[in-house]
């Protein structure tokens, strides 16, 4: 895929989402379902990468860019991840007071809630493909429990899950 087209598709996803993985549904729709340049497995790998890398969760866009187009794709992903950040400059400069306007606040919250619904919508087919046995299901349930019940960092959940997968092989 042309890196410029890849950049524009990833930018469409990042600039219309308000947190790291919220852009995932649009990326899956464009790259997996529509253009067939990415697989669900690669998408899942990118999520794992983002949780075993320090910094923002949105870094998974770089991993997706690399999976689709090598180094050029990774640069496209990095640019798509970074570009929306500049939108904060006019916000800081001119729109700080309007952020607390009831309609603006309500609209922002509605978008965040819808982003969560879209994430769940994208999660279900990925879970269907990934949770294909007792061990993966147990790992997923254990992971959710650990993350909700403690302050454990996601990195350690990924490490523990990898070890659990290895134990299954042995």
């Amino acid at each position: 895929m042309n890196p410029i087209l890849l950049y524009l598709l990833l930018l469409k996803a990042t600039i219309t989402s308000f947190s790291g993985l919220a852009s995932l549904p649009i990326i899956r729709q464009d790259l997996v379902v529509q253009h067939h340049v990415l697989t669900d497995a690669q998408l899942n790998t990118a999520i794992v990468v983002s949780r075993t890398t320090p910094g923002p969760v949105g870094i998974y866009v770089v991993s997706i860019g690399y999976a689709v187009g090598g180094i050029g794709g990774a640069i496209a992903g990095w640019l798509a991840m970074c570009t929306p950040a500049f939108l904060i400059i006019p916000l800081v400069g001119y729109a700080a007071r309007r952020v607390e306007h009831p309609r603006v606040r309500s609209m922002t919250r509605a978008v965040v809630v819808a982003s969560a619904a879209l994430l769940l919508s994208a999660l279900l087919p990925l879970a269907h493909d990934t949770l294909t046995g007792a061990v993966p299901i147990a790992i997923a349930i254990g992971g959710v429990t650990a993350l909700l019940a403690s302050n454990i960092e996601p990195l350690w959940v990924v490490v523990a899950a990898s070890l659990a997968g290895l134990l299954q092989a042995l």
Binding site: T16, V62, V135, V157
Partner: protein, 201 residues
């Protein structure tokens, strides 16, 4: 507001923390590279650490740092990178924004590429395949918890029914109606604007 010069500035707007001077770009790059690329736990954890170091170094008063934090939450894209760009701009305008953004994003991007290569290369190995299958199952768990983390602040208080309707409506439009995520977000934004929350909480 700070002045628009690209040179390090002397004392500026003082909040609850005394501010001595804006940082040289090299120091700015080092702090954002150091603390923007070494904290696990996502953007919120990293932003908290960065804000503390910026305020402790008296590069920016706490009021401005928290303003950037709040606005980064309503800026599209990755909140952490918006925060870095915002505080970089407040400290050193355009050059500060670019340096902070680059320093906070390039090292972890390089690491992400390396890990993608590593995971992809080892996918074919039987043992690695088992490990990766476990890791992918954990990714599902992480996504599910992320979904709840996004939703949790909004399901408290007097607006639960409104949030539930918005959530179910968006889910149905996407999963059953087959609408693209972009359209679902646009519809949700319109509903949010036309149906503002009541002020009573």
């Amino acid at each position: 507001m700070p002045s628009s010069t690209s040179k390090p500035r002397a004392a500026h707007d003082v909040g609850d923390v005394a501010v001595s001077s804006a940082p040289p770009l090299g120091s700015l790059a080092w702090v954002f590279a150091r603390f923007g690329n070494t904290v696990f736990g996502g953007g919120s954890a990293t932003m908290t650490v960065l804000e503390r170091h910026i305020v402790e170094r008296q590069w920016l008063d706490r009021r401005h740092a928290q303003l950037a934090y709040a606005l980064s939450r309503v800026t599209p894209g990755t909140n952490l990178l918006a925060f870095c760009t915002g505080v970089g701009w407040l400290m050193r305008r355009g050059p500060g924004a670019v340096v902070a953004l680059a320093a906070a994003s390039i090292p972890c991007s390089v690491l992400a590429i390396a890990l993608t290569v590593f995971y992809t290369a080892w996918t074919g190995h039987p043992l690695a395949a088992f490990a990766l299958r476990g890791a992918l199952a954990s990714a599902i768990a992480i996504m599910a918890v992320t979904c709840w983390t996004m939703l949790r602040p909004h399901v408290r208080g007097a607006h639960r029914l409104r949030v539930a309707l918005l959530f179910v409506g968006a889910f149905v439009l996407a999963s059953i109606g087959g609408l693209s995520p972009l359209r679902v977000l646009a519809i949700s934004a319109a509903v949010g604007a036309l149906w503002p929350e009541s002020e009573t909480r």
